[in-house]
Every structure is written in C-alpha cells, then in structure tokens.
C-alpha cells in the first residue's frame, strides 16, 4: 500500500434549501407524492422557459463565502446537452464556464495539524428527475427535477480516506450551519463522487483515475476510497495498466463495482443558455447575503472557549445544532456556559433522546434555564437533585422552587446540622483523615461521599466542603 501515493478529488452535490425550484415556481420539497411538485417548466414542455429563483443565487453566495471562495460578479448559465430519461429537456442548465465560487478551501484538522482542502469551484445547476426501475418498466418522479443544486469540486489534493471523511464532515457541518442545505445523505440532499488515482512518486504525473459515483454516506466514502486504492494498487503491482472507469459503491457488497468504462471525452455541446440573461452580482448583494448567515461552527467554538467552556464540551455542543442555537440565546447573559453545557450535554440530552424531542419542544424557557444553571452552579442543587426533577421541569411550567418544595428536596444548609454530620464522619474514618493530612487530596473526595451518603444526597455540597476542610485543617 505505502508504495503508492493516492490522489483523491471529491465532487459534492448539495440540494439547496429554497422554497421553490431553481427555474420554476414549483415547490422544492422532499417526500411528497411522486410528481406532485411539478409543472410544465419542470416537465420540459414545448414552449416553456426557465425563470430564475433569486433565492438560489443568494444561497450560493453564502455557500461560496463559507467555503472561502472568491465570488464571481458576472455569470451566465450554460446548457449541458445529453440525452437521458431523467433529464427532461435533454439538456441540464448549469454554470459550466462561470462558476459562482472559485479558489476556496475548507480547513480540517488531522493528527492535530491543520490542513486546507482546496476547492476548485462551486457552481449552480438544476437537479434531474429521480428514476426507479421496476422490472421492465422505469418510473420517473419529476419532483426532484429542477431542485437547485450546488456542485462543490475539490482540487485533487486529498491524500487519504481519513482526510476525505474529515473534509466531508466539515463541509456538511458548514453547509448545514449556514442554512444552505439539510445535507441529508440518506435523502440525497448531499451526494458524493470521489475520484481516485495512484502514483509512485510525488513527482510522477497523476495516475489513471477512476470515479466512484453517488456514495450514500460519509463512512462509505471512506470505505469506497480505501477499497479503490487497494484495487488499483493490486493492478499496478501486477504491472497492469487500466482504463478510466466509473464505478459505484455497493453497500451490501461493501465494495465498489464497475458501472462503465469511460469513453473518449464526453461531448456535452455546452453553450450559453440563451433564455437566461447574465446574472450580475453587486457587492451590496454579497454583503446582504453574508450578513444573514447564522454563526458558523468555528466562530461558535471560539466563543464558547472564551466563555470558559471546555474543548470537549464545545465540540460536542456544536455537533448538535439545536443545542448550540439554544445556547447562543444566552450570549448576552452572564450564564455560566460550562455548567450550562454540562447540563445540556448531560441530563437534558438524555431526556431529549429518550423522548425523541428537540429542546425547543420542551418547557425550558430562557428564564427557567438560567435559574437551573444558577442553582447548579451555587450547589443549591446536586446532580442527583437535577435528575430527580428534570423531567417535570422540562415538561411543565413549574418553577424550580415549586419543584424543590414539591419533591421535598431539603438541601441542608443548616451549618450546625452539617457540622454534626461532618464530625461524625471524621470520627468514623480516621484512616482517611490521616491520608488527607499526609497530603493525599483524594481522601477528601471519599469523605465527601460518606457525608452525602449520610445525608441522602441532600446536603449542600459547597457548604459541606467548606466545613470539612476547615475541620481537617484544624
């Protein structure tokens, strides 16, 4: 394996989350009854003409921006001519010569090092029909015909399947966070093709490449690439040359299989689409589109870290956009973000997963969350207390105080009472006391545990800690 250097380029098609299709007023939606979201334009009826959904341009501007691309100010659409049953006009309207974005990159982190995966271009185009084959019959669903797509073409600068996966994860996160696309690979709103070639030395020209089409998940991209590297390496080992191929990933076989050997240069007879005038993008338009972008993952992370959130928590929160968006509602408060993320990622996530709910479907108002975080931060509530009342807190409009009272949570803050318990435990555990005095900090944890046990978890831990230390230090 290590004899060869793989070169990988990835093309990603992403369906844009717009209300209507790119060239017609049909609704852009997934999961509707077949052929219910279609009109004469989508069907390529004689005499029909495309219109242009401006929302698509704005969304593509955002995509170009978040992928660090330069934005082209003057573009035209082109016709890509080819016959295929899923291609209603037998030409696809695309931006072949003037992609809206170019020369961009996405930064990934691999082995603790940052690497820029360069992006050649982003162009806008229309999606085709979905076809389904039933024995001798083929069925066409035009709901997808004319759904806006952007195609993101990376440079051939990816060296391992690990990098490919990280690149796609990052891409998905960025596009999802920017409200550009749902990026649901299982629904086809994000689709990947990978080009793989091998060569012996970095100075050699690129080897014969093979394209693997329409891989259904990011982990399968990883598998497909490593299988393809293996396949090509074996052929090269045997001294065989091979032709350019188009392959597809079969998830049952867990391997790539041949679709077709590439014929000499596809001839798409491109020419500028005469039905759509030039698209001119002004600086104001770019600014407006960019200013409407939600906060991006990297920005969020930086912000969370600056608010005292641990690296681990910050990464985890960002992986769940709903939680991150929820947390961002507290940016202008003095909420303890570390405690807040602990709660969100811990018991609250547990509840949401159990109930299959999103956080905005609960009764956790902003005020109620602030109250909860505060009480936990002050140790007025122990983690056991939180567990006891959380479900009710999330499901009803009751206040924390009401629930504390109702559940008989007597968070013992009576100093004399606590001193009694502390004295008792110190007496019962002379060895631990000795350990502590010998400098073993761990001993204090054990003693604390014993005190909490004695009080059935209702002692105020902060207070206990203070009393215990002062006693031990006497």
């Amino acid at each position: 394996m290590s004899k060869y250097i793989p070169t990988i380029g990835i093309e990603v098609h992403v369906e844009l989350k717009t209300k209507t299709k790119i060239f017609s007023s049909s609704k852009n939606g997934y999961g509707s009854m077949a052929n219910s979201l279609t009109n004469v334009v989508d069907l390529g009826y004689p005499g029909t003409l495309p219109t242009l959904n401006e929302e698509v341009i704005n969304t593509a501007i955002k995509a170009a921006h978040v992928l660090n691309c330069k934005i082209r100010k003057k573009q035209h659409f082109d016709r890509k001519n080819y016959f295929y049953p899923d291609n209603p006009k037998n030409y696809q309207i695309t931006e072949a010569r003037t992609p809206i974005g170019y020369d961009g990159y996405v930064e990934i982190e691999i082995n603790n090092e940052k690497k820029k995966i360069e992006i050649e271009e982003i162009h806008i185009e229309e999606d085709t029909c979905k076809s389904a084959h039933r024995g001798k019959v083929s069925l066409l669903d035009f709901n997808r015909a004319g759904v806006p797509l952007i195609e993101i073409v990376s440079k051939a600068c990816i060296e391992t399947n690990e990098e490919a996966k990280l690149y796609l994860e990052k891409l998905r996160q960025l596009l999802f966070y920017s409200d550009i696309s749902d990026c649901k690979m299982e629904e086809g709103s994000m689709r990947c093709d990978a080009n793989v070639s091998l060569r012996k030395n970095i100075a050699d020209p690129l080897g014969t490449k093979c394209e693997i089409k329409n891989i259904g998940s990011i982990s399968n991209v990883g598998i497909a690439i490593s299988k393809e590297i293996e396949r090509q390496a074996k052929l090269l080992d045997q001294g065989e040359s091979f032709q350019e191929q188009t392959r597809r990933f079969d998830d049952k076989l867990n391997d790539t299989i041949l679709m077709r050997v590439k014929e000499t240069g596809n001839d798409y007879r491109y020419f500028p689409e005469p039905d759509i005038p030039y698209v001119i993008i002004t600086d104001e338009r770019i600014e407006k589109a960019i200013s409407s972008l939600p906060m991006l993952p990297d920005q969020r992370k930086e912000l969370y870290l600056s608010r005292g959130v641990s690296e681990v928590n910050a990464t985890k929160i960002i992986a769940n956009r709903n939680l991150s968006d929820y947390l961002n509602e507290f940016l202008d408060t003095n909420l303890n973000f570390q405690v807040a993320t602990n709660l969100l990622l811990g018991d609250i996530s547990g509840y949401l997963n159990r109930q299959e709910k999103e956080i905005n479907q609960t009764e956790l108002t902003k005020e109620k969350f602030i109250e909860l975080v505060k009480k936990v931060e002050e140790n007025t509530l122990t983690s056991k207390n939180v567990k006891d009342i959380l479900d009710e807190y999330l499901e009803t409009s009751q206040t924390l105080d009401e629930l504390i009272q109702k559940n008989g949570i007597s968070n013992i803050t009576d100093e004399s009472l606590l001193t009694e318990v502390v004295d008792k435990i110190i007496l019962e555990n002379p060895d631990s006391v000795k350990d502590y005095q010998a400098g073993k900090e761990r001993a204090i944890k054990f003693l604390m545990g014993q005190i909490m046990k004695e009080t059935k978890g209702s002692a105020n831990p902060k207070l206990v800690n203070e009393i215990l230390i002062s006693k031990l230090n006497k």
Binding site: V40, L43, G44, Y45, P46, G47, T48, L49, P50, T51, L52, R79, N81, F83, P85, P88, K89, N90, Y91, L140, G265, D267, R269, Y270, F271, P272, P274, D275, I276, P277
Partner: protein, 486 residues
C-alpha cells in the same frame, strides 16, 4: 354571405357597438370563408366550437377595445390550451397543450377570438411553408406559388381575408418574408418586446412573436395587446406605450439609411424599382436618404445558421418520445426509443438542422463556430446601433424575390436560406422590423419593403409605414375563389 370582415376594425367596432352585428356573426363569416378557401391549406387545426363559445361569452361583455370580438389565427408553434398545437410536425401531430402561451392569454384578455392554428414550416424551419407535415400552403395571389414562410399559413389567411389578424413568429424572417409574398403588413418586434413563453422554441436568442395584419394601424393595435414584460420570460422587457401614437404624424425631414447591401445585384430588379419609387416619395417629403455600410451584414446568413442551428439542436432535444408527442411504439430499449422517435417524428429539414447544429456545438467547434459567431453578432448589432445615432430608420427590400413556384428550391437547402439574407440581419441585431406592401410586380404579385428601427422604436416604424400606406393606397385583396372583392 355577409362581408363584415372586409371592413376595418374601426367600422366593425361601430357595428358591434350599435348591436347591428355580434361577435358570433364575425366568427360564422370567418369559418364560411375558410371553408370556401380550404384549398389554400392555411390552417392545421380549426376551433369553430371554441370560437363560437368565446363569441357567445363576449356578448355580455362591455366593448372596451377595437380588438373586441375580432377573429384571430395563431401560428401553430404557439401553444394554446386544449387546442392541438403541432408546430407542423408529425412529432406533435396529436399534441394538446395543457397551458396557454403568454400571448394567447393576452389575446384572450383583449377579447379577441381564436379561430384556429395556422400552417407553417415544420418547427418554423423553412421559408416557404413547404416543410409542413400537413402539406404546403398556397399563395392567395397565385395558387401555384409559395406563400413564403415559415409563417405562411398566417400570411395567406390574412391575405385571403379569412381572418383580419394572425400571429406569426420570426426567427430569421418568418413573419416578414411571407408578409411580403402575400401582400400584408407583418411586424417582427424588438427581441424581448413580446413574451416568448409558449412559443415552441426554434432559436431562443432570435425568436420573436409578432402581428400579421391587413394594414398598419391594426398591426399597431395588436402589438399594443400582446407586448409587455412577462414573469415567465426573463428576456422580455416592460414597455408601456401606444404604438398607434405616431400613426399619421408628419414624416417631413425624417433621416433614413439604406444599407448598400440591401440594393445589391442579388435583389430582383422589379423589387429595387419599387423601392426606388418609395425613395423618391420620401425625398419629396424632404427626408434624408443615405446609403450606409453595416459591418458583417453580408455574412449574416452563415453566422445565423451557426447560432440558429446550434440553439435549435438543443431546443428540439426534448422531443424524445418520453413525456409527450409522437413516441415510437415497442422500442427495444431507450436508445431505440430515442433514435426511432426522432427518425420518424421529424422531417428532413428539421433533422438536417439538428445534425448541423449538433456538429457546430461539438467539442472544439463550439469555440471555432458558435462563440465566434456570437462575437461577430455583437459587432453587427453595434454597427446597426451606430447608424441609429444619425438616422431614424433603415429601409430596404424585405426579400430578394417575389413569391416563387411551389416545389422550387425544395432540394437546395443553401439557396432556401438566401431568401432570408435581408431579414436575418435584423434578428441577429434584435431589432424591430416591418414588411410593408409597396406595390405589385408586372405579373401582379405583391412586393414588400422592410422598415427597420432601433430597439424599441416600433412606433417610428408605424409612423413611416402609415405614411407610405396612405400615399400608395394599394388594393391588397387577392381575387379569390371566383368571388369578386369589389
């Protein structure tokens, strides 16, 4: 037989307003005439039932315009909901559209009555209406001659007074040349003036729908009704004006240019003579007449062929037998369906143009031919626009010849294009132009002149045309069907 339809729209309107006649009378007269002149083969589809229904429904409506209740024929490449639209092709022999073209909606809104769909060259490819799958149309002035094309059915129908108004489409002269051959007034508006939505595309960057009428004033009225920006056509423009406003206004001192190319030896002497008469007439009104050069105008035909056929090859790709239209039965596989549907569905001229167009866009040819042609086209347009800095209008003949015998030129694809050398430059530059009858040949065939304006200056065309029309006062009714038109 009543003869209301030979009256002017103003006269008909007065009769309608005074309730002496109803729209139904007009429709019935129309169909009587069509029946009598069936041999002209002007129509592919007639919609008598629909027309009578519309006429009836109009009776309760207030008469708001001169177009109220007026029958109109629509070229069969403009889609009409529930009325068969064939583009004169076997490919669409039984195609019934499920939507109306923008112009059809506007025609309906103007209270006009659609009587049927006119014959044409298949997919508007031709200039004699002989490539129609439904047989050729005859010229009402002499039935052994072509009516011109591709809007030959519309031109012949108006010429024979089967309908006062028809719509045509013009990609390289398809409104103006048949108008010239049939002695009617045909206008190709500025590219973008009329929405193309619903016009079955031939060459998208050149196609334009326009009115074909008996006289200049009525032509302007129809353009008033059909123009305007449409949200369905990104290449259409918002324009709001009355095209009749300069009609009858003095033309004294107008500045007029004639491209030298338009008076070359390629033009029939008889036609040049007629045009010279017009030049004298204009000079007598103190108009300036200058001869000018326009860059690349002599190369317009090959440039046009590259662009038109390239675009056509793509526009006609959608006819594949899958969703609508002719579909070859029991194909072996999808390739077989494509091949046989297109082999048997298209006629020879259409296939020839698709093949040439595909070749021209193929691989490197796209840069060698198409891109270059587009660049030269810009130069030609700019050269035209420069002339309009100093002149109001450009004039010249519409066609190099008068109507010629049926069957002639059928096998000579190149010569057929030469019919259009004077009209094509106008489409290439996106300008508005009219063909106006200016007299007859010695064998009494109509001859037309072209009046070409700067973009969106149609009103100027109507001004000059109305002046010439009035001065010449020609009898433009062909003597037909043994019936006198006196």
């Amino acid at each position: 037989m009543s003869k209301y339809l030979d009256l002017s729209l103003i006269e008909i309107n007065e009769l309608l307003k005074s309730k002496k006649i109803t729209p139904t009378d007009l429709v019935l007269e129309c169909f009587e005439k069509i029946e009598k002149n069936k041999d002209l083969n002007c129509f592919i589809t007639l919609d008598k039932e629909g027309a009578l229904e519309k006429a009836k429904s109009l009776e309760d409506k207030e008469i708001k315009s001169l177009t109220y209740g007026i029958p109109i024929a629509i070229k069969d490449n403009i889609v009409t909901k529930n009325i068969k639209t064939t583009a004169a092709s076997k490919m669409l022999e039984n195609f019934i559209p499920i939507y109306d073209a923008d112009v059809v909606k506007k025609i309906n809104d103007a209270d006009m009555i659609i009587i049927g769909k006119t014959n044409m060259d298949e997919f508007a490819m031709g200039s004699s209406t002989q490539t129609s799958f439904f047989g050729n149309t005859k010229n009402p002035w002499n039935k052994s001659l072509v009516p011109g094309g591709s809007s030959g059915g519309s031109a012949a129908a108006v010429s024979a007074r089967l309908t006062p108004i028809a719509l045509g489409s013009d990609t390289g002269g398809s409104i103006r040349q048949p108008s010239s051959f049939c002695g009617i007034v045909g206008l190709k508006p500025t590219y973008g003036r009329v929405s193309r939505y619903g016009l079955i595309a031939f060459a998208s960057s050149l196609d334009q729908i326009g009115p074909m009428t008996r006289n200049v004033y009525e032509n302007a009225l129809v353009l008033n009704a059909i123009c305007g920006k449409s949200s369905n056509d990104l290449t259409s423009y918002e324009t709001n004006e009355d095209f009749t406003r300069l009609i009858g206004k003095d033309i004294e001192g107008m500045k007029i240019a004639i491209p030298k190319f338009y008076m070359s030896d390629a033009i029939d002497k008889e036609i040049k003579d007629k045009l010279n008469n017009i030049i004298d007439l204009l000079k007598s009104k103190n108009c300036t007449i200058d001869y000018v050069d326009i860059k690349y105008i002599d190369k317009a035909v090959p440039l046009y062929q590259i662009i038109a056929m390239g675009e056509a090859s793509s526009n006609l790709a959608r006819f594949d037998g899958i969703r609508y239209g002719y579909s070859y039965e029991n194909p072996k596989d999808i390739r077989d369906l494509y091949f046989k549907t297109r082999r048997f569905g298209f006629g020879n001229e259409v296939k020839r143009r698709i093949m040439i167009g595909s070749y021209l866009l193929s691989g490197k040819n796209a840069t060698t031919y198409y891109n270059k042609a587009m660049a030269i086209r810009d130069d030609m347009r700019n050269s035209f626009l420069k002339v309009y800095q100093d002149y109001d209008l450009i004039i010249g003949p519409t066609a190099t010849t008068k109507a010629y015998p049926l069957g002639q030129d059928l096998d000579d694809a190149v010569k057929a294009f030469m019919d259009d050398i004077l009209t094509i430059p106008v489409n290439m530059a996106g300008l508005p132009a009219m063909s106006l009858p200016i007299g007859f040949s010695t064998d009494h065939l109509p001859i037309g002149m072209q009046i070409i304006a700067a973009p969106f200056k149609e009103a100027k065309i109507y001004q000059l045309a109305s002046f010439i029309e009035k001065e010449l006062n020609l009898d433009l009714c062909p003597k037909l069907g043994g019936e006198s038109n006196e």
